[in-house]
């Protein structure tokens, strides 16, 4: 592997990410799957880095899940997205940051469609005006939230309490990065580093002390695929995609996985459990799994936030062995306590994969 070759490509895929003043929209599903990630994003930007991030309870789904499940037509999605942009315009912002990769892909796709077919933009403006009385501007900058964390990765590194280094060996942790398909596969020039050798997560991992693992199936989809997962009869196909990735990364013995999509970390995490419970196979050392994180969780970990405040207890694959490797302290007693101190109850432990 020659890093210089990748650096050449990374130079070609850079995009302008604003430094401040974002209108932020959350994901439909991330708050259920990774309950603290979006809160941590806001906390890091507002409290650690004093940035202005605005969000409004009036924003809705972008329609992406319905769109990708063949339920919601694109004209409807355009109008839904126009309404989000109207909220941004009304709040006086020009920089749009979204938490979800599917939304990011859909926003990119629709802005591109409007560029090519201005008559559709006019139709959308008319539909939105008739339905809601609102008007909108297209954002000056569209960023995925991981672009924003990428932008401030070195500032986070300066404030970091921990590094992605194995404290027992002193060596960098081996990290698998996995970007959501809709981050840059449709529009490679909209993603940091492009689609073949994406740099957005790699940049974070490098800044925070880790080392990226490049394995043959790194570009392969996690297997979420919306309707493939949503329909039970198709789930074996979704599972097979994740399996293919793990088989490919296994020889590299990665310590952890970092992701930037709502679906990927969920499936890479939960399918490890399903593979273990149906086939008896684990991909981590000593019968453990390979822990999977969102980039916000990783940022929170290096900044020294309490792992349970980061929501790491809701992961299927136990995170404690990794916390021990880095040297991040945690209290097993408070693992299943809510923020209000109330006992949340303990999940049933899996049989074929080590849990804590």
């Amino acid at each position: 592997m020659r890093i210089e070759g990748k650096e050449q490509i990374w130079k070609e895929y850079q995009k302008e990410i604003p430094n401040d003043d974002f209108f932020y929209v959350r994901s439909c599903i991330r708050q259920n799957l990774f309950p603290a990630s979006e809160v941590i994003f806001l906390k890091i930007l507002r409290e650690e880095l004093s940035k202005t991030i605005y969000e409004t309870p009036h924003h809705t789904t972008c329609g992406g899940i319905g769109y990708h499940s063949d339920i919601v037509p694109i004209e409807t999605v355009m109008t839904i997205i126009a309404r989000q942009f109207a909220l941004m315009t009304e709040a006086g912002f020009e920089n749009y940051a979204c938490s979800c990769i599917t939304s990011f892909g859909l926003y990119s796709e629709i802005i591109e469609t409007w560029n090519h077919f201005p008559e559709l933009l006019e139709k959308t403006r008319k539909s939105l005006k008739e339905a809601t009385g609102r008007e909108f501007n297209i954002p000056k900058h569209l960023a995925h939230a991981s672009d924003v964390i990428y932008k401030v990765r070195n500032e986070i590194a300066e404030k970091a309490k921990y590094k992605l280094i194995n404290k027992h060996t002193g060596k960098p942790l081996k990290v698998v990065e996995h970007i959501g398909c809709h981050y840059s596969k449709m529009f490679p020039n909209k993603g940091i580093g492009g689609a073949e050798y994406p740099y957005v997560l790699t940049g974070m991992v490098e800044a925070w002390g880790g080392e990226i693992v490049d394995y043959p199936e790194r570009r392969h989809c996690c297997g979420f695929g919306f309707r493939q997962y949503l329909v039970q009869a198709n789930r074996g196909y979704s599972l097979a995609n994740t399996h293919k990735k793990f088989e490919s990364m296994e020889p590299f013995e990665p310590d952890m996985i970092i992701t930037n999509c709502p679906g990927c970390p969920f499936f890479l995490d939960r399918w490890q459990y399903v593979i273990a419970e149906t086939e008896g196979k684990c991909y981590g050392a000593k019968g453990q799994g390979i822990p999977v994180f969102t980039y916000e969780e990783v940022a929170g970990m290096v900044l020294g936030y309490d792992p349970w405040d980061l929501g790491l207890q809701v992961h299927q694959i136990a995170v404690e062995p990794l916390l021990d490797k880095i040297g991040i302290p945690y209290n097993p007693e408070t693992k299943y306590q809510g923020l209000n101190g109330k006992d949340l109850g303990k999940p049933e432990l899996p049989k074929n994969i080590c849990s804590c």
Binding site: Q232, A233, R235, G236, Y237, L239, A240, H243, K244, V274, I275, E277, T278, E279, G280, K351, N352
Partner: protein
């Protein structure tokens, strides 16, 4: 083990990293002309059997070469050995011999 109501799909990929070339090597040894097939499909288009069954000599030879031999066993003996393919083949392959060799090895020990 838990039954979740679904199972991981098996891969449809031809995996050339798994060495399954035994049958093809035997074929080449006994009928070297098999190596010069250009997959033109003349044999399959003229085939008496191929019009009515899924027997396709072009594909059979290709899959044999790729080591995907499992699927060949049930279809190889559908050939009626009429020789039309041999007559038509632009590369002059001894196609009847090829069929007989594959048949012999695929059903080795299975016919009493």
């Amino acid at each position: 083990m838990i039954n979740f109501g679904y199972k991981r799909n098996e891969s449809a990929t031809l995996d050339l990293d798994v060495d399954n070339s035994e049958l093809y090597k035997k074929l080449l040894k006994e009928e070297p002309s098999a190596a010069t097939c250009i997959s033109c499909g003349t044999c399959a288009s003229t085939c008496s059997t191929g019009q009515f069954t899924d027997f396709n000599l072009r594909k059979i030879m290709l899959l044999c070469k790729r080591g995907d031999t499992q699927s060949l066993e049930p279809i190889i003996n559908r050939c009626m050995l009429c020789g039309k393919c041999q007559f038509a083949c632009p590369k002059g392959l001894n196609t009847r011999h090829i069929v007989l060799i594959l048949n012999k090895h695929l059903h080795a020990g299975k016919i009493s």
